[in-house]
């Protein structure tokens, strides 16, 4: 006979504002098999948990239903409380009265009725629950960091410095990411390269870090503590063991007219190239799509000049497989570079630039050696216009969100411009100035007060070129929306931060969630910011949403701490919510007929065939068997099984039928 305890949480007023919690508890008390039912203001608080623990002990409960928030939030909390009171944690279920009821319905009788139904469903389910034991699995203590920007670098160094092994995979020929492209950084105006490059070198030299550049994740199988990653090492066409990085090949390469990715198309590079002088590793790769030899079959200049014979044209892509225990995603972001602003003429007018292009112009290592000059004619612009929110906060263009960093870098750009062009005039068109951060507001004020940057509150409607000038048509909303027209020499668009191309594909490879804008989704917006929905996979930096350097570094260290925490255990317990094949002994036998349809359905190859032998060693029958180490508990096999011989712990057929019937039977 079941003795179920029902505990209804008010969640402050989050539930009780629309649901009559006392009534739900009273009704639950009348349900068959319910021994005890009560309600409480904060069930997850210490007194709340104690309430549950005492009830388990005093009433000898055989099952617990907590009617509170989403089980995705607090199921572990309450299961732990039950375990502490001596009840098997898997005999505790949660009924979602907050996210699925009180927050989505109005206050009325139906809402309370629904809450009662939701509780009843779980009461019926929990009656059929069986005690389960957590599964223990070993952990491979090696982390995979995807992306070698500042986020990946920070995470890798933190993990490596804690004594754990790290594999870093970077898709470009060098690590460094967008931060290496920046000139100065806000709000201190210290040089980006000066603070970044030492860390890049540290990564390359760290004994615990294996660095794969020009490489991408191909496959990821397995689960927390036991992933198997297949990495594609794209053919560099250069043998790095022989290459000394002397750079002779790059100076002699005849294909010199390829727009440099590092310089955002404002400079040129050769076909065999290192992206920038401080690259790590400082060895070149051949860009096959632009190499004369690969395209036309002739050239081989680099091979001729290479003093060590390191050029190898026939090297194919290679694949390596690594066992790893945790993954850190740090793939970063991108800025919009397409024909996104027809009204601003980006792509049509040479001197209408993105913020990232302006960084290259302002950078001492950039194509103009740090002088602000127009790409079209090399002239120094005397009047420059910056347009904030170019694409951001623009639902009509598909980006309703704020890109967060643009207000700050626009202020920085205007400041840098004023520092470099003393007689220049700079204008910033903005909607709001979002400078929340330590010393950020002060920084923006400095741009306005000390450097005389003209801030105009309004959005620009259009830009057209006339006589080498760009006519910028805006409005000053603080002057009664009076139209403003500025004849500018250069326009810089603070283009929206967007997810990296390929982010969606990568997310699908790893089975982590992503949002509508293809940014990776954290497990909980507040309490699990560096976790993903998939255990053992963490994320940091701008791949989650646009963010600045301090925040990225903080998040990277957070993700690293999670990995280090995970690796501090030698074994890992896993939820026992997995499939099992009914193993009834002779003479009844399992109903499994050995058709092994389940085997074809299993995405994890967790099902194998097993021969059941008699005493004389002859095979009596063949049945399916689930490997508990591999099974992830999706349950696809259960729905596949024709003879109902396979079932899932925690979501068994019996439990699910009970739940559905409880809901519909009045």
């Amino acid at each position: 006979m079941s003795k179920i305890g029902v505990f209804i949480c008010h969640c402050g007023e989050n539930i009780s504002a629309t649901v009559d919690c006392e009534k739900v508890a009273a009704e639950a008390g009348k349900m068959e098999g319910v021994e005890f039912a009560t309600d409480y203001k904060y069930m997850c608080s210490d007194p709340g948990q104690t309430l549950i623990k005492n009830a388990i002990k005093e009433k000898g409960l055989t099952g617990v239903v907590v009617g509170a928030c989403s089980p995705r939030m607090h199921e572990p909390t309450f299961r732990k409380a039950c375990a502490e009171a001596g009840l098997n944690p898997y005999l505790c279920e949660m009924s979602n009265l907050r996210e699925h009821c009180s927050w989505v319905h109005e206050k009325n009788e139906q809402t309370t009725e629904k809450a009662i139904d939701l509780v009843k469903m779980l009461v019926e389910k929990v009656k059929k629950n069986k005690p389960l034991n957590a599964i223990k699995v070993p952990i491979t203590k090696k982390a995979l960091v995807i992306g070698g920007g500042i986020a990946g670098i920070q995470a890798a160094l933190d993990i490596a410095n804690a004594g754990q092994q790290v594999i870093m995979v970077e898709k470009e020929p060098s690590i460094g990411g967008h931060m290496s492209q920046l000139s100065e950084t806000f709000p201190t105006l210290d040089c980006s390269q000066c603070i970044l490059t030492p860390r890049m070198v540290e990564v390359a030299q760290h004994p615990n870090i294996t660095l794969y550049t020009y490489a991408e994740l191909e496959h990821l199988d397995g689960f927390i503590g036991n992933f198997k990653a297949t990495i594609r090492l794209k053919a560099k066409s250069v043998d790095y063991k022989l290459c000394t990085g002397c750079g002779l090949c790059t100076t002699k390469c005849p294909s010199k007219k390829i727009p440099s990715e590092f310089n955002e198309g404002l400079g040129m590079r050769t076909a065999i190239y290192t992206p920038f002088p401080q690259a790590v590793p400082n060895k070149p790769v051949i860009d096959r799509a632009n190499c004369t030899y690969y395209q036309k079959g002739k050239c081989k200049v680099c091979e001729k000049v290479c003093p060590t014979g390191a050029i190898q044209y026939d090297l194919p892509d290679q694949f390596i497989t690594e066992d790893i225990g945790a993954v850190v995603i740090a793939t970063g972001f991108n800025v919009l570079k397409t024909d996104f602003f027809p009204e601003y003429g980006y792509g049509k007018y040479a001197d209408v630039l993105t913020g990232l292009q302006f960084e290259r112009l302002a950078s001492a290592s950039g194509p103009t050696l740090g002088e602000i000059r127009r790409p079209s004619d090399g002239q120094i612009p005397k009047k420059i216009v910056f347009i904030a929110c170019s694409g951001s906060r623009d639902p009509a263009k598909g980006i309703p969100y704020c890109s967060k960093i643009c207000c700050m870098y626009t202020a920085k750009h205007a400041m840098l411009y004023q520092h470099k062009v003393h007689d220049g005039e700079s204008y910033v068109f903005y909607m709001d100035i979002r400078a929340g951060g330590k010393n950020y507001e002060e920084f923006v004020r400095r741009a306005i007060e000390d450097d005389g940057v003209n801030y105009i509150r309004g959005r620009v409607a259009r830009i057209y070129e006339k006589g080498g000038k760009y006519i910028v048509k805006g409005a000053d909303t603080l002057l009664g929306s009076k139209p403003v027209e500025i004849e500018a020499d250069m326009v810089v668009l603070a283009t929206a931060g967007v997810s990296n191309p390929g982010a969606e594909e990568l997310a699908q490879k790893m089975h982590v969630s992503y949002d509508a804008y293809k940014f990776f989704a954290e497990a909980h917006p507040k309490l699990k910011p560096v976790e993903t929905n998939t255990a053992g996979i963490f994320l940091c930096g701008a791949c989650q949403a646009p963010k600045d350097i301090p925040e990225t570094v903080g998040m990277a260290s957070g993700a690293a701490a999670k990995v280090i925490g995970l690796f501090s255990n030698s074994e890992l317990t896993r939820e026992p919510l997995i499939a099992v094949v009914n193993r009834s002994a002779p003479p009844v036998f399992s109903t499994c007929v050995g058709c092994c349809m389940c085997q074809t359905a299993c995405p994890y190859n967790a099902i194998e065939r097993e021969e059941i032998k008699g005493r004389d060693g002859s095979v009596i029958k063949t049945v399916a068997k689930v490997n508990p180490g591999l099974c992830q508990g999706c349950g696809t096999c259960v729905a596949f099984c024709r003879s109902k011989a396979i079932d899932m712990q925690g979501f068994s057929n019996e439990q699910m039928f009970a739940e559905v019937m409880a809901l519909l039977n009045e």
Binding site: V104, E106, A507, S513, C634, G635, A639, M656, L663
Partner: protein, 159 residues
């Protein structure tokens, strides 16, 4: 007589739609309270016998919802569910169950508003279709028949 309030069961996966419905809650988007969610690890887990059972027990409509194609937490469970649904539809039709009473959809963890839309549109559609008792009656009848057969057999054994 107030308007007919249909009873609708939603079978959803834990990773996408359940989380999406959580987001509906966190975003405080209101929707009809007729739908009750049953949580599964994956749409691949959903045994379609459960859908029949729900109709037999008096459900007026059903929602099955999981991750978008390619987004399945378990790689391919949603594809299995989709394939099963295609075949199952034919069976439902054959059995005389109105397939319009089942709504199959993809709702990701980021689509809180979409979940509310799915719920509301299903409630409206099912409300228009009216209460569903046909299958329930048939199931009751069959159960009676089964019972009489069992009774008969028992009687025979006793004899």
């Amino acid at each position: 007589m107030s308007e007919f309030e249909p009873k609708i069961v939603a079978f959803v996966c834990n990773w996408c739609t359940y989380a999406g419905a959580d987001l509906t809650g966190t975003s405080r988007i209101k929707y009809a309270s007729n739908v009750k969610i049953v949580r599964f690890p994956c749409t691949g887990r959903i045994d379609f016998m459960l859908l029949l059972k729900a109709f037999a027990e008096g459900a007026d409509g059903i929602i099955v919802s999981g991750c978008h194609p390619n987004d399945c937490h378990y790689t391919s469970g949603n594809f299995h569910a989709r394939r099963r649904w295609v075949i199952f539809r034919g069976l439902l039709n054959f059995m005389g169950i109105d397939v319009n009473r089942i709504q199959f959809s993809w709702v990701s963890a980021a689509e809180g508003a979409k979940w509310a839309d799915v719920v509301n549109s299903t409630v409206t559609a099912v409300r228009e279709l009216g209460p569903y008792t046909k299958y329930q009656k048939a199931a009751d009848y069959l159960a009676q028949q089964d019972q009489s057969i069992i009774d008969g057999q028992e009687a025979m054994i006793i004899k």
